[in-house]
C-alpha cells in the first residue's frame, strides 16, 4: 500500500479455496490491504473496485465484512472492529449503489432523468374553498340562534327535544362535510361521498360516546331540586358547584386528612409510572435489538401474561406479598406496577422500528450499552414512552388497593372517594361530583399527553 494508514483492525481473512490467515486490515483514504503477521500483503484493493460490501454483526462490535470486487473475487474478513472498518470503507467507497427509498421515489427519479414531473395528489397545490367555509359559518351561527330559543320565541312555535337533536345533528354533519371538502389537501384515493358518510357516522357515534360523560358532568352541576326532576334533564338549569363544595366538606370531616389521600395517589402514580417506564424500556431495548438465547421465549411469556386480569392472580399474589412482608406498604402497589406486561410489550413493538444502523453507529463511536440506551434509544422512542406513561398512570390512578393496604393513612384517593359514593340517595349529588373528579383526571392527563404524542409522532419519525 502506498498511502498512509488511517485505520487498522486485527482479525482473520478467509478467501474461498485457501486457508484462513490471521493478521490486520489496514485502511487508507482510497484503498485497503490485509497484512499477515509477518508483514506480507495478502490482499489489496482499491475502493473503486468494490462492487458489493456486506457487513454481518457477530455481537459486540466484531463483525464479518464481505467484499466483492470487479473481477468477481470475494473475501471475508472477520474483524475486531468490523463495524468501524465497514463504515470507513462505506464512507470512502465512491461508486456505491444508490439506495432507493420507495417505488415512488424511483419512478420520480426516472421521470426527473427524462425531464418530466410526476404529479401525485399529495404534491398537488391546495385548492381553496372559501365560499363553502362561509356557508358553514353561517349555518353554525343559525344553529346557535335556533338553540338559544330566540327564533322559537319570535315565531311562537316549539319543537320537541328529539326533533331539535335531529336538526342539530344534521346541521353539524353538513358543516363538517363542508369543512371536510375544504381541507387544504385532499388525500388521494378518497371519494367525496365516502368522506361524507364517514363524517356523518363519526359525528353520530361521537355523540353517543360522549353522552354518558356529558350526562355525568351535568348531574354533578345540578342543585338538589333538579337531581330528582321528572322528566330528567341532561343539562342543569341553574348550574351550581355546591356538590363539589359538599365533597370538600365531607372530605374535611374524614378521619385521615384529605391531603394524605391525595399524596398517596400522586406518590404511587408518579413512582410507579417512572419505575415501570425505566425497567420496561430497559428490558424492551435488549429484547428488540439483540438476539440472545432466551429472549424470544421471555417475550412470548410476556405476551401471554397480557391476558391475565388482576382477579385471576389476586389471591396467590396476596400470599406472596405477605411472605415478602410487603402487605400494607407502598411496595405492594408499586412492585407489581413496575412489572406490568403492557409497558414492555408496547415498548418492544416501538423499538423494533428503530433502525439498527443507529445503534451500530453509536457502537462505532465507542458508546457502551447503557449510554446507547439512555442517550440514543430513549430520546427516539418518546412517543412510545408517552403512551406507556398514559397506561401506567391510568391503571395506578384507578387502584383502590383495598386488598393489599389496610391502614387508612395509606389508602388512595379513589378509595376514599368511593367510600363517599357509597353514601346512598342522600349523597346523590356528591356521588356525581365524585364520579366527575375521578374520571376527569385521567382524561385531562390523556389530553395533555395526547397532544405531545401527536406532535412527537409527526416530527420524530425515523426512517430506516
Amino acid at each position: 500500500m502506498n498511502e498512509s494508514i488511517l485505520t487498522r483492525s486485527p482479525g482473520t481473512l478467509s478467501i474461498p479455496g485457501s486457508a484462513n490467515a490471521r493478521g490486520e486490515l489496514q485502511l487508507g483514504e482510497t484503498s485497503a490491504c490485509f497484512v499477515n503477521r509477518k508483514g506480507e500483503e495478502l490482499v489489496a484493493f482499491s475502493y473503486h473496485d468494490i462492487v458489493r460490501l456486506k457487513n454481518v454483526r457477530n455481537g459486540g462490535v466484531s463483525s464479518t465484512i464481505t467484499v466483492t470486487l470487479n473481477d468477481d473475487s470475494t473475501f471475508d474478513m472477520h474483524l475486531k472492529s468490523g463495524l468501524a472498518c465497514h463504515s470507513f470503507i462505506d464512507k470512502h467507497w465512491p461508486n456505491k449503489p444508490r439506495q432507493v427509498k420507495s417505488r415512488a421515489d424511483e419512478l420520480r427519479r426516472m421521470a426527473e432523468l427524462r425531464g418530466e414531473r410526476i404529479q401525485t395528489p399529495l404534491s398537488m397545490s391546495a385548492k381553496k374553498h372559501r365560499n363553502e367555509r362561509i356557508a358553514a359559518l353561517v349555518i353554525a351561527l343559525l344553529l346557535i340562534f335556533f338553540d338559544s330559543g330566540v327564533v322559537q320565541k319570535l315565531f311562537h312555535f316549539e319543537l320537541s327535544t328529539g326533533f331539535m337533536v335531529l336538526i342539530n345533528l344534521a346541521v353539524i354533519a353538513v358543516i363538517l362535510i363542508l369543512l371536510g371538502s375544504s381541507f387544504k389537501r385532499r388525500r388521494p384515493n378518497r371519494s367525496i361521498g365516502g368522506d361524507m358518510g364517514i363524517y356523518f357516522l363519526l359525528i353520530v357515534m361521537a355523540c353517543l360516546m360522549a353522552f354518558p360523560l356529558v350526562f355525568a358532568i351535568g348531574m354533578s352541576l345540578k342543585p338538589l331540586d333538579e337531581l330528582f326532576r321528572f322528566p330528567p334533564t341532561v343539562f342543569p338549569r341553574h348550574a351550581t358547584f355546591k356538590n363539589f363544595s359538599d365533597l370538600i366538606v365531607v372530605m374535611g370531616e374524614s378521619w385521615v386528612p384529605f391531603s394524605r389521600y391525595l399524596f398517596n395517589t400522586v406518590f404511587i402514580t408518579f413512582v410507579g409510572t417512572a419505575g415501570h417506564l425505566l425497567l420496561a424500556s430497559m428490558a424492551a431495548f435488549v429484547l428488540a435489538k439483540y438476539d440472545f438465547p432466551g429472549g424470544r421465549t421471555f417475550f412470548g411469556v410476556v405476551t401471554t401474561a397480557l391476558m391475565f386480569s388482576g382477579y385471576v392472580t389476586g389471591i396467590p399474589n396476596y400470599v406472596i406479598m405477605s411472605k415478602l412482608g410487603m402487605i400494607d406498604t407502598y411496595w405492594a402497589l408499586l412492585l407489581p406496577a413496575f412489572a406490568a406486561p403492557i409497558g414492555l410489550f408496547l415498548m418492544k413493538q416501538f423499538m423494533e422500528g428503530l433502525p439498527t444502523a443507529l445503534i451500530e453507529a453509536a457502537h462505532i463511536d465507542g458508546a457502551g450499552e447503557f449510554r446507547i440506551f439512555w442517550s440514543i434509544v430513549m430520546p427516539n422512542v418518546k412517543p412510545a414512552w408517552l403512551t406507556v406513561m398514559i397506561f401506567s398512570v391510568q391503571s395506578l390512578w384507578n387502584t383502590s388497593a383495598s386488598t393489599v393496604i389496610y391502614s387508612e393513612a395509606k389508602k388512595t384517593l379513589v378509595y376514599a372517594l368511593q367510600q363517599i359514593q357509597a353514601g346512598g340517595i342522600a349523597r346523590t349529588g356528591t356521588a356525581a361530583a365524585v364520579t366527575v373528579v375521578v374520571m376527569i383526571v385521567p382524561i385531562i392527563l390523556f389530553i395533555i399527553n395526547q397532544s405531545r404524542i401527536l406532535e412527537t409522532m409527526a416530527s420524530s419519525g425515523i426512517k430506516d
Partner: protein, 314 residues
C-alpha cells in the same frame, strides 16, 4: 445398534446447540443485565402467582389451613355439579362473542376514520372516543341512565315518547340485563387497542401510500388492504389480545350495574363466579380451578386469532 447411534448423534447435536447458546449467552451478558430487574419482578408477581394458582386448582384450600391435594375433583365439580358456573360460562361467552369482535372491529374502523381527519379534529375525536374507557368507573353513570324508576333517563325518555306505559326494570329484569351490559361494554370498547391503532396509523410511512398511488391503488379499500393492514400487523394482534382480555375478564361492569349477586344470576360471569368463591367463600382451590379454566380458554382464543391474523394482507 442403529437407533443407539442415532441417539448419540442427536445427543451430540443437542450438546453442541447448548454449548453454542451458552457461549452466545456469555458473550451477551449485558443483555441479561438489562433484562434482569424487570424479569425478576415479572416472575415474582405474574408467573409465580399463575403457577401457584394452577397448583391450588388441584387442592382444597381455604387460606387458613394447608392445601390438601385432591386431584381433579375441583374440575369435575365445576363441570358436573355447579349449575351457576354453566350460566356464568354461557353469559361470559355471549358477552365475549358479541363485544370482543364487534368492539375490535369498531375500534379499528373508528381509528381508521379518525385518521382521515385533519390534525386538530383528530385530537378532539380521539379524546371523545377514548374517554369512556380511560374514565375510571364512569360507567356508574349508566346506573342513573338505566335506573328502574321513572327518574331513570331511558325510562323517562321512553315514557315521554309513549313507547312504554310503565317504567322498565332494566337492571333487575333478567331479560334486559345482558343487553344492557353488552351496550355498556361496547361503549367502553375503544380502549387500549383503539389507541394503538391510532398510533400505528400515524406511524405508517407516508411514502408507501404515494408509492401505492403510483402503482395503481385507486380507492380507500385497496389502500387499506394492500398497504395499511400489512404494515400494522403487530398492532392488530396486540389489539386482538387486549379485546380478548377485556371480553373474557368482564366483571366490574356487571357487578356495578346488575348488583352482586344479580337477579337469577343473569349477569353472572366467570370472573364474578371466581370472585364469589375466592373472596366471599374463601374456597381458594375451587376459585383457582375457575381461573385456570379461564386462562386456558383465553390462550386457545389467542392462538386461533394469531393464526387468522397471519393471513391478513397476504
Amino acid at each position: 445398534m442403529q437407533s443407539s447411534s442415532l441417539l448419540k448423534k442427536y445427543a451430540s447435536i443437542k450438546q453442541q446447540k447448548i454449548s453454542y447458546n451458552w457461549n452466545k449467552a456469555k458473550r451477551m451478558k449485558i443483555c441479561y443485565l438489562f433484562l434482569a430487574p424487570y424479569a425478576i419482578l415479572f416472575f415474582t408477581f405474574l408467573i409465580l402467582p399463575i403457577c401457584t394458582s394452577i397448583y391450588y386448582s388441584f387442592t382444597s384450600y381455604n387460606i387458613l389451613e394447608k392445601p390438601v391435594f385432591q386431584g381433579f375433583k375441583n374440575y369435575i365439580n365445576l363441570v358436573l355439579q355447579d349449575e351457576v358456573f354453566l350460566i356464568a360460562v354461557k353469559n361470559t361467552f355471549v358477552i365475549a362473542v358479541i363485544t370482543g369482535p364487534i368492539g375490535y372491529l369498531l375500534s379499528f374502523m373508528f381509528a381508521w376514520f379518525i385518521n382521515e381527519l385533519p390534525k386538530w379534529v383528530r385530537a378532539v375525536a380521539v379524546v371523545v372516543f377514548y374517554a369512556p374507557s380511560i374514565a375510571a368507573n364512569a360507567y356508574s353513570i349508566f346506573l342513573i341512565i338505566f335506573r328502574g324508576d321513572a327518574y331513570g333517563y331511558l325510562n323517562s325518555l321512553l315514557l315521554n315518547l309513549g313507547l312504554i306505559s310503565a317504567p322498565n326494570l332494566w337492571l333487575s329484569n333478567p331479560q334486559y340485563i345482558m343487553p344492557v351490559i353488552i351496550i355498556v361494554m361496547l361503549w367502553m370498547s375503544m380502549g387500549t387497542g383503539f389507541l394503538s391503532f391510532i398510533a400505528s396509523f400515524q406511524g405508517i410511512d407516508k411514502s408507501m401510500y404515494e408509492a401505492g398511488y403510483v402503482d395503481g391503488v385507486r380507492n380507500r379499500w385497496q389502500e387499506l388492504y394492500h398497504i395499511t393492514l400489512p404494515s400494522m400487523k403487530p398492532m392488530l394482534l396486540f389489539a386482538a389480545v387486549m379485546s380478548i382480555t377485556t371480553a373474557f375478564n368482564v366483571s366490574d361492569v356487571p357487578r356495578m350495574l346488575a348488583g352482586y349477586p344479580s337477579t337469577d344470576y343473569a349477569a353472572r360471569t366467570v370472573v364474578t363466579h371466581l370472585f364469589d368463591y375466592g373472596f366471599s367463600r374463601f374456597e381458594m382451590g375451587y376459585a383457582s380451578a375457575i381461573a385456570t379454566f379461564l386462562f386456558i380458554v383465553m390462550i386457545l382464543c389467542k392462538k386461533a386469532i394469531s393464526n387468522a391474523l397471519m393471513k391478513v394482507g397476504t
